[in-house]
Amino acid sequence: MLSLRLLIRELRAGQLTLLALALVVAVAAMTSTAVLTNRIDRAMVQDASALLGGDLVIRGDRPLSERWITEGQALGLETTETIEFPSIVGFDDRFELAAIKVVTEGYPLRGRLDVAAARAGQGIPTNAIPVRGTAWVDPSLASQLNVDVGDNVSVGESTLRISGILVFEPDRGGSFVSLSPRLMMNRLDLNASNLVQEGSRIRYYQLFAGEAADRFRARITPELDISQRVRGLVDGRPEVGSALTKATQYLTLAGLLTVMLSGAAIALTARRWAEDHIVDSALFRTFGLSSGAVARVFALELLSLALVASAVGVLIGYGIQIVLVDTVASFLTVSLPAPNAEPALLGLATGLVTTFGFATPALIQLHKVPPIRILKRDYPTAGPGRIVTYGLALAGLGCLSLLYTRDLPLTALVLVAVAVLVAMILIIGRVAIRIVGPLERLGPAWRFGMQQLIRDPGTSGGQLIAFSLTVLAVTMVAMIRLDLVATWEDQLPKDAPNTFALNITKADAPGFAALLTELGAESAPLYPIVRGRLETINGTVLAAHPMEDEIPGSVRRELSLTEASEQGRDNRIVDGRWFTGDDESGLVTVEAELARELNIRLGDQLAFLVGPDPVTATVVGIRSVQWDSMLPNFFMIFSPGTLDRFESTLLTSLNLPDPVAQTTAVARAFPSVTLLSIDAVLNQVRGILAKVTEAVSFVLWFVLAGGLLVLMASIQTSLPIRKKEAAILRSLGGSDRLLSQSQWAEFLVLGALAGLLAAIASELLGRVLYTQILNLEWSTFWSVWIGLPLVSALMIGTIGRWSAREARQLPPAHLLKIAES
């Protein structure tokens, strides 16, 4: 109770403002980061799940066994089935090949269909499916058949009335299975249509959705046969999955950096708080309290503060995410899941761990104050050593890192990195402070400024660590944000392909290319597509070839094989080489991940079967492929001429400036060419990335707030001694100008040194973070090396001088009082 009363009194008196503020910022940052990652991540996972129609899709050439459906339902998963196959759809005397999709009640489990009431109508989201006896057609089929809502079309032996125009189908994009225009019908009409016959080319999709999807996936995957494939969120839509992973890593990293900065602010303010309470502690001992009781009084006071400030931080964190999430909610195609209590608990834990991780040294110091200190001001009061102080801070940071990332290696990496950086800054900083010493010859202001740095290397070293870490954290977070956003923009540039064109015959190719030129469309090269199966590596059948794991799913079925003379812009040779003009047929380059899984090396002989015919090729290159580029990509690309003898059609991707109108124009000119618009998918992915970008931009503010607190806390800590020195200087005739200039000199030099140290540290930390955690490419930013010391000098110079103004602006009489004390 006494602790609580002390806390209230000290809060009222403003003695704990900075400490409380540092705690609130740390907790608010981590809570909002946690709620954001938790809530938006769940929303984005749902959003991305919509691109699959569910959380998990199992595809096969026959329906999934009833046993698995029952098992999925027993795990609480929702499930529904869709069936896809090509068939002719007729209206009057027109007939078009369409991709029929048969759906059952409940489809889609994630996302919504957009259906328009007429061909020219606007799509409206719906949770329904076509009712029995009706069908929905997409605008492309409606255009090719020249039908509208209300017309009857023939599908197999059935006649279905068109009841809507299917404008958007969330799980359609990117799939190369159903490339023809779409007709969607109800499962109840399937038998009457008599479309499913022995030998029909039918694909069955069983969709599952629910919390247990991952668990179910782990159980079912090993038991699937060679014709069945599982697709989940990340492997189903890599362009979204990788963005999600990186964004989550970034948010957590930024949150941890904020906690580290707030922790530094807490450590500094707690030290000041402890110093302010040394006499109080001694006084309590004279009142008869044991050292343990004194420690309990202050520990309970800190605990109460941590709980109150954490609760405030949690509320702010939740409040901020409501504002932020609401502003970006328009991007979502699914409703946001409500925030749960987990981030609140994490926030409270953050407050407690940060307080005691960073403020325990202060408590130890108060615990050790001898009562005689009340009479003898110069009686030494020993706090814990540096190793204990830094060790406790690292332990606190480690606990939090583990709580948030649940990743022990990453936590270990964070701790080692922080320890190495602090040690490096401490050592280099000490040397650097000595080197700048001669600047005192520049005049009296510089002399007083430099003396502040040189006289007490412990204090100035501590300030240098605080400032360097602040500049480093803000720089790293800003740099990573820039790079992530740039990566995402590169991934989906404005001219990203929005349409795939398939089934282009070799005869149509020249005319098709000419039309694209006329329409102003950009296109990728035309790739011939031949379906073939990989049979042997160096004469050994796959099952007998030594490889990393079991045979990857991608080669357990037929692969799309192609040949090309030019290397795709999203392909990079990581081993070997690309083809040269002198190369003959019979060479192949292999996608890097598949090559790793299959243990394929340069010079290996690969044998394929295309229908009954064998094809062999020697591996000359291993390529890394950016699968999320929306450009056509292949596991195997052969040297020109290798596939000449096989029948093939061509495939490419295009960017049509006006996709709606131009798709119709191309379809009319080349009716046999299948056009697949991925514009809607592209927009959806862009929306998700925009949302992630906003989230990552937002956390930068927290890091900045944390950094600002460190600066202020650091200066607050040194304020009493600054006031005293200012008083003495002024009593000896030092002018305001001299005091002001000496503070400028001191903080400018400290800022420049902090910027330089942060630049060195960013080179080390950046390399590790980019290459080991974020999988981004690192390149040295020379602008950082030059700009950081300058910007940091100006920033710290200004903030430092402003924060220390109290030492200059006190009335002379007051200053005298301080000098005497």
């Binding site: 109770m1 006494l2 009363r5 009194r9 000290e10 009222r12 008196a13 003695q15 006499v279 109080d280 006084l283 309590f284 001992r285 004279t286 009142f287 008869g288 309290l289 044991s290 050292s291 343990g292 009084v297 001898p370 009562p371 005689i372 009340i374 009479l375 003898k376 004390s821």
Partner: protein, 233 residues
């Protein structure tokens, strides 16, 4: 003197070891006895060890040699925490620089020793207010130390020292930070309360006028303690 002995010092020697490992003696073979209700002044030049002696007498430190008995307990053998417990409620302090908690009001500062001793807030508040009124600060209960003059701060400190009804009051240069007039009013207050409550007063001072008001005066010089001629109050 017929009153009971409250403090006894027998053959106490004390000193420090400096940075070079040299032993620096401060007190040599000091002995004295103080009875209940006495007012005792310890005087001496700066650096003579007056504050060190006061710290030893109050149990804030233990001597290198000799024995100190406070309220029938040998402080020389007690642990620091046991000494603190022995002081609780029995010993009050007044310091040269007041040592008020800056974040607390005058009332809260005076309540503090009672709260630390486990007295209820209501009772502590009432007793603290009574004592502040008694020292002339009834109208300044809600003022923080920085809003009080030096004399008022020291009056608050005096109220805080007496609020637990201590048997012994130690004062370290109680008028050292005050002007002469204010200093005199504080010393009037101290001696008045000494008489009213019957508490023993042990003060360390440079101020000869203040010392002369005590029953007994001890002079500390070069580590030796000598009792001077008693003065009239």
């Amino acid at each position: 003197m017929t009153n009971a002995q409250v403090l006894s010092v027998s053959s106490v020697s004390h000193g420090f070891v400096d940075q070079d490992g040299q032993h620096l003696p401060i007190l040599r073979d000091v002995s004295l006895q103080i009875n209940q209700g006495d007012s005792v002044a310890i005087v001496g030049p700066s650096g003579a060890g007056k504050s060190t002696l006061l710290a030893l007498l109050a149990g804030l430190d233990v001597p290198n040699q000799g024995e100190i008995r406070l309220l029938d307990q040998s402080f020389s053998t007690l642990s620091e925490d046991a000494r603190a417990k022995a002081r609780q409620g029995s010993v009050g302090f007044v310091f040269q620089s007041f040592q008020l908690l800056p974040g607390l009001t005058a009332l809260e500062n005076v309540m503090l020793p009672l709260e630390l001793a486990g007295v209820s807030v209501k009772l502590a508040k009432q007793r603290a207010a009574d004592w502040l009124t008694r020292v002339g600060l009834g109208a300044r209960l809600r003022h923080r130390p920085r809003m009080l003059s030096g004399g008022e701060q020291q009056r608050t400190a005096v109220a805080r020292a007496f609020v637990t009804d201590p048997a012994l009051l130690f004062a370290d240069e109680p008028t050292g930070n005050l002007d002469r007039r204010t200093g005199e009013s504080i010393s009037d207050l101290l001696f008045q309360l000494n008489q009213d409550t019957g508490a023993t007063l042990v003060l360390v001072t440079h101020d000869e006028r203040l010392a002369s008001r005590c029953d007994r005066i001890f002079t500390l010089d070069e580590g030796q303690l000598q009792e001077s001629t008693p003065c009239s109050v």
